[in-house]
């Protein structure tokens, strides 16, 4: 059945990898689908670790004056929880969706640069491993007059200056030891990965669209990917330079952010949040895209106001660059800046509101099909509105000054990033499960997962609003009995464990359904976009011939016609069409050129952690190993053609 032929000639030093199964096929793959799946699993693994860190934090806070963790360990845990969830969980899970779906949604066979795609994945993996190797090799050290080094167990060997790394706290004087170096260099490596994938996605969307796929016919998820790629491309360079400065300050005695040498700690805050605020939209926009795909499908109505959603997405992305200083209202910034950023923070609520009303307009009057993806999508809207509204309260500077560094903020951003981004991601995981595995997930377990997660989530983060307003401060490992905060903190901790339970249900469902689930029908959701016009699981070549797109929601229009009153009527030919599509999708007419697997992305990226260690330990041999690996990878890459031995029959004639 497969008409892809093996490469036959050896044009390089090593024979090209060609295995289709087993570990080598995964290590050398350049297939966007496999890379997407690897992103998904690896990110879920880190999500579990980040979740465990959160549970450890909640055990410590379940009672007043608890001593489950020392202060130093608590610092390390909240730093790693934040860093992990942002850079190693939500961003890469979104990247999993981008990788798997983007080429399918624009009708392409792969991304624009398949090997660069593999490169960004492996750089990300090595960045994550580098960051986590701090538990083995790192030391937190003890600042003068701070807590005692003996109190620090192995949990405390991690970065402890917060995921925001405020200076001078994260500088060498107050965070001696190597842990914060692992943080700075680890984020640097992860940043390279995201930057590379951002170029790749931008070029893919601009240049790889199939016939008739005009920009304004692209699915909303693709549009949101586009917006995210812009945000990444323009915000990551800023943090990259800022992290360079941190590393220079810590390793080479410069004083970019240290006042004693004439530096400026507030400059770090500016540079960090210049990246950090767009980052918030990098985390949430993919979920916006996913939900905008799911709501129309399960309401059996077109998306209400498609252009408005697209432009609002870009509005958010653009204005998202102009609100960063609202994270700094309690820092030394001028009153004019405070007023300006307060106003821009209010303004960014407008395009977000546009989206919410569009979604509500989409489900309004629709025939709702309350399957698990739809439940999560609806849960997303509800939870995100709560998080969005508490977010607007931060635009009022005096109020924000009061709320800064309290649990109110923690509640706010978890409603946005968990209730928003994670609910959207779970909706997407269920929605595209049949596409990826060709099986159906278990609906009952899916619904149980949704309800336990919704309850657990609100128990965890709801009470944080009033805990924060009562004055419980973030990032502090104990609170006194007399504060009377104990009851609600216990509830919050119980809620956290309910979330953990819901995640276990999800995992059980996933593993069971992937093996023993029912075979998925060709078009399980009666969907609208062209990724459902091909068989599930997706064949290696995606589309057996390039689809010709004639309209927005092309697949829907192929299946449905309108009667005089504008209602959708299923065409008589729809069922035959599905059968025909399945037959054609599995049997391409001609041999298809696909990029060959390659060792070099893996080899190249494996050099980066060595360079990181070399900077931390000032070791020339480690640097040499890193440089050799990188040069070997680049040289092999440059001399190896993307495709070889894959010739279609026509060309040979």
């Amino acid at each position: 059945m497969t008409k892809i032929i093996e490469p036959d000639k050896q044009t390089n030093i090593f024979r090209r990898p060609s295995s289709e199964y087993g570990i080598w096929s995964w290590l050398t793959t350049v297939d966007h689908k496999k890379i997407g799946i690897m992103y998904g699993y690896a990110a879920f693994f880190f999500l579990l670790i980040g979740g465990l860190e959160a549970l450890v934090l909640r055990i410590q806070l379940a009672q007043p004056d608890n001593n489950f963790l020392s202060a130093a360990e608590y610092n390390a845990m909240f730093t790693m929880h934040g860093t992990t969830m942002v850079f190693l969980a939500i961003m890469p899970i979104s990247a999993a969706f981008f990788n798997y779906l983007l080429p399918l949604q624009i009708g392409a066979r792969d991304v624009a640069f398949p090997r660069l795609n593999a490169l960004s994945f492996w750089i990300w993996v090595f960045g994550g491993l580098f960051l986590y190797s701090t538990f083995v090799f790192g030391t937190a050290g003890a600042p003068e007059g701070g807590y005692l080094a003996e109190e620090v167990g192995w949990l405390g060997n991690a970065p402890n200056g917060g995921w925001f790394g405020y200076q001078p706290n994260a500088g060498f004087k107050y965070s001696p030891g190597t842990a914060m170096d692992y943080w700075a260099i680890g984020l640097q490596i992860l940043g390279i990965s995201s930057l590379v994938s951002a170029f790749n996605f931008i070029v893919t969307i601009l240049n790889m669209r199939t016939q008739g796929m005009r920009l304004m016919r692209m699915p909303v998820f693709t549009w949101m990917t586009f917006a995210v790629a812009f945000l990444l491309a323009f915000s990551l360079p800023i943090i990259a330079i800022a992290l360079f400065y941190v590393t220079f300050d810590r390793q080479f005695g410069t004083t970019f952010f240290l006042t004693e040498g004439g530096g400026d700690p507030v400059l770090w805050q500016h540079l960090f949040w210049l990246f950090g605020h767009p980052e918030v939209y990098i985390l949430i926009l993919p979920a916006f895209g996913i939900v905008s795909e799911i709501l129309p499908t399960f309401s059996r109505k077109p998306l209400f106001g498609y252009p408005a959603i697209v432009f609002a997405g870009f509005g958010i992305a653009f204005i998202g660059f102009g609100v960063w200083a609202h994270h700094m209202f309690a820092s030394a910034i001028s009153p004019v800046a405070q007023a300006g950023f307060g106003i821009s923070t209010m303004i960014i609520a407008v395009p977000t509101g546009v989206k919410i009303f569009n979604w509500l307009g989409t489900i309004w009057g629709g025939k709702l099909n309350l399957k698990t993806p739809m439940l999560f999508a609806l849960g997303f809207i509800g939870m995100f509105v709560i998080g969005g509204l508490s977010g607007v309260t931060h635009s009022v500077v005096p109020a924000d000054t009061q709320q800064t560094d309290t649990y109110y903020i923690v509640a706010h951003f978890h409603y946005v990033l968990f209730g928003g981004a994670m609910f959207g991601i779970f909706a997407g995981l269920y929605y595209w499960f049949p596409k990826v595995w060709g099986k159906m997930y278990n609906e009952t377990l899916g619904q149980i997962h949704f309800w336990t997660m919704l309850i657990g989530f609100n128990l965890t983060f709801g009470p944080m609003h009033w805990l924060g307003l009562q004055g419980q401060v973030r990032r502090t490992w104990v609170y006194a009995e007399e504060t009377n905060l104990g009851f609600w903190n216990l509830i919050v901790s119980i809620g956290a464990f309910i979330i953990a339970l819901s995640i276990l249900i999800f995992m059980a469902n996933w593993m069971y359904s992937k093996r023993k689930g029912e075979k998925a029908p060709f078009d399980p959701w009666d969907a609208r976009t062209i990724e459902w016009t091909i068989p599930s699981p997706t064949p290696v070549w995606n589309f057996s011939k390039a689809p010709h797109v004639k309209a927005l929601d092309d697949f829907w229009h192929a299946k449905y016609d309108e009667d005089e009153e504008g209602r959708a009527v299923r065409r008589d030919t729809a069922d035959d069409l599905l059968l025909q599509l399945e037959e054609e999708g599995l049997n391409p007419e001609e041999e298809i050129e696909l990029p060959n697997p390659s060792y070099y992305p893996f080899i190249l990226s494996s050099g980066l952690p060595f360079l990181g260690y070399a900077v931390i330990y000032k070791s020339i041999p480690l640097a040499l190993i890193g440089v050799v690996l990188i040069l070997a990878g680049s040289f092999g890459w440059a001399t190896e053609p993307l495709e070889e031995g894959f010739r279609s029959r026509k060309e040979e004639e």
Partner: protein, 194 residues
């Protein structure tokens, strides 16, 4: 690129790798923007120790700036020669560009050494730190560019010669090289003259 014959390769009409390079250069603006911003912020402040104005050698830097500027001319001539399928001329101009780039780099190394001997070290004060990191980051870009150019020149020695279609292609490297040049145009003014 992957895809069958029925696949349109470039929806925008711009060659995919070139488009990728333009996107990359757009983000490079943000890299250098951050560095320049830091430099400007600290330039307006008081700091202890030696000042940049005490160590500058403007005539020397002007000459090396001129050298880098002219390397952009040789680069564009190499590109032009390749468009006219003149392999010989392409190689000559490529080599000239790499040479001019190396002269600029040598000049920067000489300049750094001179400054160092005058007591202007990386961690002397905030100003020396920003100076070295900013110009050093640019120097690293020039170095990578020179490596690319020499790589191209070596590929050009082969029988097939260079082409504008191959993966590692001249147009792509030329864009990068010109970008490195325009960054120096800005840095020369911001760091040295103002």
């Amino acid at each position: 690129m992957s895809g069958g014959h029925d696949y349109p390769h470039e929806s925008t009409g711009v060659e995919t790798r070139k488009l990728g390079m333009w996107v990359f250069l757009s983000t490079e603006i943000l890299f250098f923007g951050t560095l320049i911003t830091t430099f400007m912020i600290f330039k307006g402040r008081d700091f202890p120790g030696i000042k940049l104005t005490d160590v500058y050698d403007i005539p020397f830097t002007s000459v090396s700036s001129f050298v880098l500027l002219m390397s952009s001319l040789t680069m564009v001539l190499a590109h032009n020669a390749l468009e006219n399928a003149d392999q010989e001329k392409t190689r000559v101009w490529l080599l000239a560009t790499a040479m001019l780039g190396s002269v600029f780099l040598a000049g920067q190394i000489y300049e750094f050494t001179e400054f160092y001997h005058k007591g202007f070290e990386l961690s002397t004060n905030i100003f020396s730190s920003t100076f070295y990191v900013l110009t050093g980051f640019h120097g690293l870009h020039v170095f990578i560019g020179v490596v690319f150019l020499i790589g191209l020149w070596i590929i050009g020695q082969r029988q097939k010669g260079l082409s504008l279609d191959s993966g590692f292609n001249l147009e792509f490297i030329a864009l990068y090289w010109h970008f490195v040049d325009i960054v120096w145009i800005v840095l020369f003014t911001v760091v040295y003259l103002i």
